[in-house]
């Protein structure tokens, strides 16, 4: 497997021709309802087997019984809505042996299904588990940022769907221009690996000492 050279200029800067879009996520608003996931599946006709966006449910804390039979606990929970983060340095692209993954004009990481050979290298490379294997066509599929909607002046379907207004979408430099946002919460990988364009306003439970001992509760779903 060959490792491709990494892009030299940061796509985050943006220009009249090239721009880098990204998602934002207010973790304090997400209730784990999965409307984003369902809207994505419905719009992209994904069916039951494939999901571009999934909800990760995290929880921590412990239970202890007192001598009178009552229970002590310090349980907490939070969610992460996760799809492709359209990274500035995408691992999937670097590891694709058939050059089928590219960054588009809007910074979206897209798979060319004409040339994809379905080897699933990208799936193993991506630390966010964004590329998925579609058994029906034998190829890798993933979130394309709803490029067709963006071209029509609409937002990604997941963002327009969120009843709690937890998901956002914009040129990434605007979304990330706040000290309050982070690109890593809970068990997410170090953002230095791929430079994800995902601006998270974190829950207090998701960072710092409170988040210790946190576990992913729904690993079979994601």
């Amino acid at each position: 497997m060959t490792v491709k050279p990494q892009p030299t200029a940061s796509a985050k800067e943006g220009s009249s021709k090239r721009r880098q879009f990204g998602f934002s996520f207010d973790q304090n608003l997400c209730t784990g309802c999965r409307t984003c996931e369902m809207a994505c599946k419905d719009y992209h006709h994904l069916g039951a087997g494939v999901a571009y966006r999934t909800i990760h449910e995290f929880a921590g804390g412990n239970w202890q019984q007192n001598s009178d039979g009552s229970w002590q606990q310090d349980v907490f929970a939070f969610y992460v809505s996760m799809s492709c983060n359209h990274c500035s340095n995408p691992a999937c692209l670097r590891f694709c042996p058939s050059d089928s993954i590219a960054k588009g004009e809007d910074g979206f990481v897209v798979v060319n299904s004409d040339t994809c050979v379905g080897c699933q290298s990208c799936m193993m490379a991506c630390p966010y588990h964004a590329p998925r294997f579609d058994e029906a066509i034998g190829k890798t599929v993933k979130c394309d940022g709803c490029q067709a909607r963006i071209d029509q002046g609409l937002g990604p379907v997941c963002v327009e769907a969120c009843p709690q207004r937890a998901l956002g979408f914009d040129v990434y430099a605007r979304l990330s221009d706040s000290p309050a946002v982070t690109e890593q919460v809970g068990m997410m990988p170090d953002p230095e690996i791929t430079q994800p364009n995902y601006a998270i306003s974190p829950s207090e439970f998701a960072c710092g000492p409170l988040s210790e001992g946190v576990r992913l509760l729904n690993c079979r779903e994601v």
């Binding site: 304090n28 608003l29 997400c30 209730t31 784990g32 309802c33 999965r34 409307t35 996931e37 369902m38 809207a39 599946k41 419905d42 719009y43 006709h45 069916g47 039951a48 087997g49 999901a51 929880a59 921590g60 804390g61 412990n62 239970w63 019984q65 007192n66 009178d68 039979g69 009552s70 229970w71 002590q72 606990q73 349980v75 907490f76 929970a77 939070f78 969610y79 067709a148 071209d151 029509q152 609409l154 937002g155 327009e160 769907a161 969120c162 009843p163 709690q164 207004r165 829950s203 207090e204 439970f205 409170l210 509760l217 729904n218 079979r220 779903e221």
Partner: protein, 785 residues
Amino acid sequence: MAAPSRQTVLQSCGFNCGSRCQLRLQVEDGRVAWVETDNAPDSENLPALRACLCGRAWGHWVHSPQRLNYPLKRTGPRGSGQFQRISWDEALDETAAQLKRIAETYGPEAIFFPFGTGASAMGESPIERAVNCYCGHLRFHSDYSSAQLQAGAMALFGDDGYLSGSPLEQLEHSDLLVLFGSSPSTTRQGGAASGPFLSQLRRRAAEDGRPLPVVSIDPRHTAEVRSPEDLWIPIRPGTDAAFVAGVIYQLMEDGNADEVFLREGCVGFFEDTLPEGAPSGSSYYAYLQGLGPDGVAKTPEWAASVTGCPAPVVRRLAQRLTQAKSAFITQGWGPQRSEYGEQTARSICLLALASGHFGKPGTNSGVREPMRPNNTQLPGAGENPVRASLPAFMWTEALTRGTGFTAAHGLQGAPQLMAPLKMIVLYGSNCLTNQHAAINATHDLLFNEALCEFIVACDVVLTDSARYADIILPELALGEQENIVTAGYSDRLAMVRQGHAWNHHTAERMSSWEIGLGLAQRLGVESRFTSGLEGSGPLEHHRKEAFALLAETSAGEEGQSGPCGSDANDQAETRAPRKSLPCAYEAFRRNPAACPLPTPSGKVEVYSAALTRLAKTADLPQGQAICPIPAYVPAAEGPEAARAGQFPLQFITYHGHQSIHSNLAHLEIMDSVMPRALQVNPVDGAAFNVADGQAVVVESERGALVTHVHLTPRIMPGVVALPNGAWHDADMEGSRLDWGGCPNTLTSLRPSPIARGNGQNSCLVRLRPLTPAEQTEGRARGYDC
């Protein structure tokens, strides 16, 4: 990208969360290709009516394999699901003939329409209108949603609590939100409904530097608990009244209860305000202090032993209520859906009264936020000449007892049934089996054709209940028809939306209006059926009503009217901010004497003399009692019985994000997005030797189902939970093991004592692994086990 044949159709999501979110259906070749919703820019006062995942799955629902396409007639035994296609003439002729026969043989009281909110959810049924024009039918009162809360609020405040609570916007004046078994972000999750509204109110409070922490008293950890300032207090299901007693005991002990109001505005909190004839030691105060019949003081330590909540946490809530300037205390409908739900519901209200967080800005009465007027799509059901009325949940009991069903069993409007129950008309109702209780016992009642002689169902999909029908009438969904819809439970808006028909040409479905008219013609009452509608039709009738409601409920600011989306510019929706409502019982709280409540005493009846009288006449199940004060009463299947018996776990259901009751619960795509599984605490996982993801059998005294275990710390030990609504799927001639995982395979028909309401959350179960034979059967069914 736009295909030339694609059409955008403005429509409404008609499921019974009641929020009426906007659907902009993308229709291609007579099918919904996908669903768009309201993507108009948001504002604080006019939020977009964004559909939740249920609305987003709407296309999958109308095109699901379970969709009813043609009228059907039963060919196998009742409940076997064996049907043959017949013509509309055959279906309506047979239904009309049976209706005539049963009305002539037994009288109109033999005909019953069970509660239901599925199908088109278009308000009152035109089929009922046709029957009312002909002869009338046995009524029901209350519902499956909040029967115990309605009865509890009636005893306490003299109204049913549906409209009397404080609206959520009162939280603008609150500094503490106390939720008993309430999760608006799940039960009302649409974009303009109370879930997102609550988030907005909390965010606004934070921005104003006015914290609005949440205390959630619930066996389950919900998404309402979001920050370290919030507090989750898990208690054992059905023990809310014990928890409240512990908190009020502590408030009294510390001198922090609102004793002046408890004395002046209430009957029977203290001994000296008991009504005439009440025995001494029967006040709530005597109950708290151990001066009543049980002789036990309701200390926080006592509360801890019953509820499983440590005594210091009970005290902490008393302290937080004392420190709060305005606490908004509210309850969802899960806690009251238990054997002693009336006690639960009343006790939560009593906490608001006793802590002084009542009748003032930013407070509530303890009931759920008020239900705003919903749409009434069609002219009403008309006048029903029959007066007799069953509690909605009690039809199985009435079917069993026949004319022996009397006022002592909850019958209203008549001393006893004049006729046995012989005909059931299901209109958008899955409350025969799936959403009723004790499916196996209920199956046996329905299977016996000598009891109920004829069942007709009108629905959109073939539900488990519809499988018991003798004739099935396939209906168009709300969002397939011309319709007028108002904002419903989207609390923040007043709205009128006109939906447009698009799916007339496929299959042989009819609107409920056409079905009602067809029946009316066959019953010879067509002119009565259409009277008052000459020259305009039902839609025009409703349009007038809807705009009158808009004018009445809008805040009077500029209404917003206009196109919805680029290719739907002839399809308009009118909306305006909704008028704010005052906090609950403000006038009464200010001056109880001048503004009395509609109770017999005009005061809050903490001790209800009416309930004492009811206790003397009611024919209750073995071991059940009616208590005049909101004391804790252990349920037949509560935590005490769990510790003592063969079924050690309390089983509860909740509204999951992934379905509205049983609507959508059969969709494979929904299951892929949010699979149903039994929440089990890891402590219980270890104790009962079940692993995460394992298929298990859940058994109660009444039945068994198969589901997967989801180990999570977000549920209390000793309690297991399933989302409601899964579709029952069992071989009823064989093992009756429910592979669909429908909670009502397990639940009990034992009604609550006052409302005679459904108490599904009082249910004990045990877990066991599948036997080798069951594993073989499961694999043959394609079940992951």
